[in-house]
Amino acid sequence: MDRAMRASSRSVVFDLARQELRELNKFLHGDLGGVSSVTVENPDGANSIAVGINAPVTVEVNGHAGYYVAGMNQGGTVVVHGNAGPGCAENMMSGRVEVTGFASGGAGASAHGGLLVIRGDAGLRCGISLKGGDIVVGGDVGSFSGFMAQAGRMVVCGSAGEGLGDSIYEAVIYVRGTVTALGSDARLEPMGEDDLRVVGKLLADAGMKHLPSEFKRIASAKTLYHWNADANLTY
């Protein structure tokens, strides 16, 4: 690749119909030489697109992505103009990942920071083991979302499936639509001023127009935080 020429334009195009995915990821992991914008053409559902970014670079993926797109993102902005496969933005540290279509299972799993925006629906286990990241989903989330989520916020503009927030710790989930069933130790709580502010800010960041007052708050009842000798047979 004529890197100097492309770098001078501060924008690079990778066409995965002609180039190896590894070429793209190696480029993103190296010295970007002033490049601030990368476009990925013909992703065709490839796995691990733009994983491990550790720079303030913007990656536009023009099409559908496979497993783990933008996984471990640190400081990058990744936009998938299409759908994302399982594990999108898993373990994100910071930055922003946006999916314009739907995201498959495990979106934002164990994300420590950053913002994941999914404009369509998210599959099962969205935000599982969330560790401080924020997730805004324009549509519905599948069952077991927010499972054992430790920190961070999830804003679901549609509805949630079964087992929402099962064994949740300090993360908080906001749902605008219905919840098929709350998971163990998850409970509905009243929306406070802080909640309205947080939801309003996250919706604004995600570019979604809903009223914060339409959302319900789901958080931990904290009954699983401590050993209960009377209930030891139920553990």
Partner: protein
């Protein structure tokens, strides 16, 4: 891990291209299943009195032409199509008699499928190699169920490769694993099922077939399966005029569907669908857990 792929053509004019459209789907799932692969192809039905029987022999140098001669002496065979170490026989003899005769006279030959519509191929090797070996890209038909296997529960052998069949014009492929294949098998063996491999998927295939034969619809058979199967699965199933997919209630194994006016295509991952004509404008969705999706050949 395994890969599943299915394609049903709504547009009749595409039927001669069924294999050509399918091969890249199968090869796209190589990383999910590099050790074996197979396809069940559903073609126009043969006459009501006839059955097609797909046969396989594990001996590479098996003398198929002399087998054909002996076969024709004992059974009324209208067609005998030899493809490497597979052979598709069309006969109006009772398929059960043919099966028993084969078990007696040619114990090395396996019956892969029986039906008026189904042809079945499966073998070990990379999907591209298997596709080449049997010239999958030249196959035509209405719909196809394919699989690439990464063995987890049983050895890498042709008989443990998918698709599995039971009865006539019924096949199933599986991504996932069952933890209680032994109890499913014992239950079915008591009811008269005969197993031909030690793969967990064979039990699932025979179980659902037994349920449907006992009067269940595919939907109610799967309701029972959710109770009786302990494990993870995305099943893709084919009948003479249907293609159906279902994921277990935890939906641990992926699946994505692309539907246009011309076709319905199903795969474990979108990368197996990316080459299909018009896929950019297809309706794309992931099957919801524990929901049965099926499409009928028009």
């Amino acid at each position: 891990m395994c890969g599943i792929v299915g394609l049903l053509l709504k547009n009749r004019s595409l039927r001669p291209q069924l294999g050509a459209l399918m091969v890249p789907m199968l090869i796209g799932m190589t990383e999910r299943g590099p050790d074996s692969s197979g396809m069940a192809v559903f073609t126009d039905r043969v006459a009501a009195k006839d059955r097609k029987i797909s046969l396989y022999c594990n001996e590479r140098d098996f003398a198929w032409p002399s087998f054909e001669g002996v076969l024709r002496q004992h059974h009324r065979v209208s067609r005998c199509e030899i493809k490497v170490n597979h052979c598709i026989v069309t006969t109006d003899s009772d398929p059960q008699h043919v099966r028993e005769w084969l078990a007696r006279e040619f114990p090395g030959i396996h019956v892969l499928s029986v039906g008026r519509s189904i042809d079945l191929y499966k073998d070990v090797g990379l999907p591209a190699a298997v596709a080449d070996r049997y010239a999958f890209k030249r196959l035509s038909g209405t719909h196809v169920v394919g699989h690439t296997r990464m063995a987890t529960e049983s050895a890498v052998t042709p008989e443990n490769a998918h698709p599995y069949t039971a009865g006539e014009d019924w096949c199933l492929v599986h991504n996932g694993s069952l933890a209680n294949p032994g109890s499913i098998r014992r239950k079915l063996e008591k009811l008269g099922s005969r197993f031909e491999s030690d793969c967990d998927t064979e039990g699932a295939c025979r179980y659902l077939h037994w349920r449907i034969q006992s009067g269940d619809t595919l939907e109610t058979a799967l309701e029972h399966a959710f109770e009786d199967f302990d494990g993870f699965f995305t099943f893709l199933m084919g009948t003479e005029n249907k293609l159906a997919v279902v994921r277990d209630p935890f939906a641990c194994k992926p699946a994505v569907v692309a539907e246009t006016d011309d076709y319905v295509a199903i795969a474990s991952e979108f990368r197996s669908l990316a080459h299909l004509p018009g896929v950019k404008h297809a309706e794309l969705f992931e099957p919801k857990p524990a929901e049965v999706y099926s499409w009928t050949v028009q």
